[in-house]
């Protein structure tokens, strides 16, 4: 195979720089099979497979505490507030790393080495976490979660950057959808399997205890090892593709300038509040959900785990469908309002009634997917493209800060006041998000209504804007977007800035919200 590569590079690179959408490799004299040709679809599907499994381990192990809540609390002799520290410690490093992730991947490590390093962090973190359980040292488990957190979120950025690098245009939607589904699959499998694994280990070891817990968590670490192998394979394949196709290493292309924060418009701050207020009522709730369903609704542990995972199960197919719907109809603020109101209804149902919780949790799953599809693209409508990196970084940073603080608060509320008060607290958080959405709607309406345009209106505005602009060439230096920012703003860049200020939908190949999706993990 090495001979073939050398011969091919000696033949010259008439494949060109871009490799978008070339389907056939049937040129005579090409010795590589379809599956080994980086420009062929089959090879890219293989790469896609590895890309999807890259994040599997991280998402599998993120919710390990929730799947084993009773066991962790009993074996390590904790109270709920201490248990929730396991989630808080995951979020703390990401308050800072959201800003640094892109920088580290672009400038310091490069995408390939960076992915391997972050996978290593995920793996080592989970092993330390399991070791802490084996040795009956809770502080070691917290350290493990901290290290795991350093790798987890940045790995998602790397995964998305790989996707943008290997796939273009319409394929990108599908790829993101698949990555999201794989992530959700990881969470779901974790919720439903870990309890069974623990019981089997308990019967092997003899009795439940911290040893059983440690062994179960070590078994979970195997998935992280698997992700590490995927990262290594991806690095190898990417390097090989770079040699064959002479393309550059992918870049996140994101520029973070913290001084831009003072320029953020008021609607953006409202969007931040919605983001924080909403997500702190979802993830800590899922973290504590299993015991809630066991105690209040008399579910068996297996049933309780199943219903706890329904949010993830639903969001896997619902996200692409709802994303398509939101893209087609526009009116993002109305969709966010619907999502927030239905989440509030779901929490109140769980708090104040004994109605079958499957209804409330399914509603929660659908509204969670709807919000993710409607909220994150709104940032691109309010903020010019050169500030998008900072805006998304800031949004994720305060989201993680909120998650860390609220996880601890939720644990201690439960310890002192019980589940009703906890649900009322979560409802209050969603009410804060609701207040922000209502204010966003009116502020946007009174300012001209850019955010809540329907897709048709947006397309019309875009046509009017581009009809009297020059036609520009297809930018085939897509991957050098990052470098482009270091040069003075080109006509192309200026035009994009103008269009994003209008809230117009940018053309597909430089769709800013898609590229921002590439830089940011939309999976949260």
């Amino acid at each position: 195979m090495a001979d073939a590569e050398e011969r091919q590079s000696l033949l010259g690179d008439e494949d060109g720089v871009s490799f978008s959408g070339r389907r056939n490799a049937g040129e005579p004299g090409r010795p590589m099979s379809a599956i080994c040709d980086p420009s062929h679809l089959l090879h890219r599907i293989v790469v896609l497979l590895f890309m999807c499994f890259l994040g599997f381990g991280s998402y599998f192990c993120y919710d390990n505490p929730a799947a084993l809540q009773t066991q962790v609390i009993q074996d390590m002799k904790l109270n709920t507030a201490q248990f929730m520290q396991l989630y808080a410690w995951y979020s703390w490093p990401n308050v800072i790393l959201c800003f640094l992730g892109g920088f580290l991947l672009d400038r310091v490590f490069g995408i390939r080495l960076g992915t391997v390093i972050f996978s290593l962090f995920v793996c080592v973190g989970q092993v330390i976490f399991a070791a802490g359980a084996l040795l009956d040292r809770f502080w070691l488990m917290e350290v493990g979660r901290f290290v795991f957190g350093i790798g987890g979120e940045s790995l998602a950025v790397a995964q998305n950057t790989y996707a943008v690098n290997w796939f273009k245009g319409k394929e990108l939607n599908l790829v993101f959808g698949l990555q999201l589904s794989m992530a959700r699959l990881g969470s779901t499998v974790n919720m439903n399997i870990m309890g069974w694994v623990y019981n089997r280990i308990a019967s092997l070891v003899g009795s439940p205890g911290y040893t059983t817990l440690g062994v179960s968590l070590m078994i979970a670490a195997v998935t992280c090892l698997f992700s590490l192998v995927c990262a290594l394979v991806l690095g190898f394949l990417d390097k090989r593709a770079e040699k064959i196709l002479h393309k550059d290493q992918g870049k996140t292309g994101e520029v973070i300038k913290l001084t831009d924060v003072k320029d953020f418009p008021f609607p953006l701050w409202l969007i931040f509040i919605i983001c924080v207020g909403y997500y702190v009522a979802i993830f800590p709730f899922i973290g504590l959900g299993q015991v809630f369903f066991i105690e209040k609704f008399n579910f068996s542990p297996a049933e309780a785990r199943a219903i706890n995972s329904i949010v993830y199960i639903i969001s896997a197919p619902a996200s692409p469908i709802l994303g398509f719907m939101v893209d087609k109809t526009g009116k993002n603020v109305i969709w966010v309002l619907c999502a927030v109101v239905s989440t509030l209804a779901a929490h109140m149902m769980l708090a104040f009634t004994f109605w079958n919780p499957w209804i409330a949790m399914s509603l929660l799953g659908v509204s969670y997917s709807l919000l993710a599809c409607a909220l994150w693209p709104m940032v691109a409508f309010v903020v010019p493209e050169h500030q998008l990196g900072t805006a998304y970084g800031f949004m994720q940073s305060i989201q993680n800060l909120g998650l860390a603080l609220i996880a601890m608060a939720a644990g201690s509320i439960l310890d002192n006041r019980g589940y009703l008060f906890l649900e009322v607290f979560f409802s209050a958080c969603v009410c804060i998000a609701l207040i922000a959405v209502v204010m966003l709607y009116f502020v946007d309406y009174l300012r001209g209504g850019d955010l809540n345009l329907s897709a048709a209106d947006r397309a019309r505005l875009q046509k009017e804007a581009t009809s009297d602009s020059e036609i520009y060439k297809h930018p085939n230096q897509q991957t050098e977007r990052g470098l482009a920012r270091l040069k003075p703003m080109s006509a192309f860049g200026l035009r994009n800035r103008y269009l994003s200020r209008l809230g117009a939908q940018l053309p597909d190949h430089c769709s800013s919200h898609l590229s921002s999706l590439a830089h940011r993990s939309v999976l949260k």
């Binding site: 009634t353 109605w355 002192n416 009703l420 209502v438 009116f442 009174l446």
Partner: protein
Amino acid sequence: MFLSFRSSAGFIGSGDTYRRKLSVELNPGLNSSVSPLPPGVDLLHIRALGKSDTLHFLFCNQGAPTLLLLHTNTTSSTIQVDWPAFLARNTTGSLRVEPESSVLYSSAVVLTRLWEYDDVNNTADPEKVPPSSFLPPYQLQNFTWTGLNNKTLDPAGHTAQLCGGDASPSFANGSLCLQFSAFETEGRDQGWPSLLHNANSSQIRVWLDGLLPRANRSRFSLELQAVGGPYPLGRVEEIRSIDDEYTPSIFQVSQWVSSPSNSSSVVLGFVQWKPVAYRRAKPVFEDATPCHHTASVPLGQAAPASGLVRAFYGSKPSTTGLNVSFGIAGDPFYAMTNYLSWTMLVGLGHPPVDTFSPLVLSIMAVGLGTPMILILLGGICVCSRKRATPQSQAYEPIN
């Protein structure tokens, strides 16, 4: 759905501000001319005066500890004790209410036995455990008690505490304690389970402190018997409650009630408890262990071995009984902390219904009300804006 609405509506209940005036009396009518009571045995009488009725609480540990509740329709009823006959324990009628005809309702709750069983399969279900796992029960009538003196009796707070045990080595460093409290008005105890009481109820808290278990996997179960006049406590209702603010993770209330035979919606008297016991004196969330109970079983006319029941009801009262067992499958055993505590309310009329705390109500009101107000204000703003500036037509392109 209707039931859930009904129970939620009950939560926004009106406060019960009915007050009773309490007075505490120890061993009423006992003077030095009568032979003294055996050591540790006392009769506590708490008189709760209402506007036009009186509730008498009599708490005595001669024999098995008993609480006798008497409701009379006059404010001047008194308790007469024929002490020599009471102490002899072989005649009836040694405890009377003057005037006899004023008694509207009477009921007695007796704590008769403490059962211990070896839960080899960790199922925590005494009905499924083989009889051979049951150890000989502790008969509370054979216990020796510390007396009610000024350390254990608090007249101002209307509480009395008794601790006791029998001669077996398990009680060498431990005891079974009871705390009886009566209340003037509606309120809640500070410690869990923070049962809501009103002026018509009293509270008994039972706890095992330091008692040594006799098996590796011991669990305990308490046997209660109830004696009543025409209508003893007959059926146990389990009510689901959405409020677990005061007993985190417990969403049920159990009530052992007595109703007249012709209508089951009228409740004459009750024993109410939350199905939870705590494994520590100052419990945290993880120290809660749920309880189960058996159905209420009629025991015919076999009177419990209680001096108070014999004195008031005679030797052939109609008796019912049930067992409350502590722990569920998979819970830690008693030996983990050597402590177990459980609380029940005994009272007259309808059992108190839990309500939301003001904090929860205010959070929901603010949380839901603010967006509504904002929508209203925003709508007004938008309407006034529309009316103030006429809609400017966007110029259509000419071509």
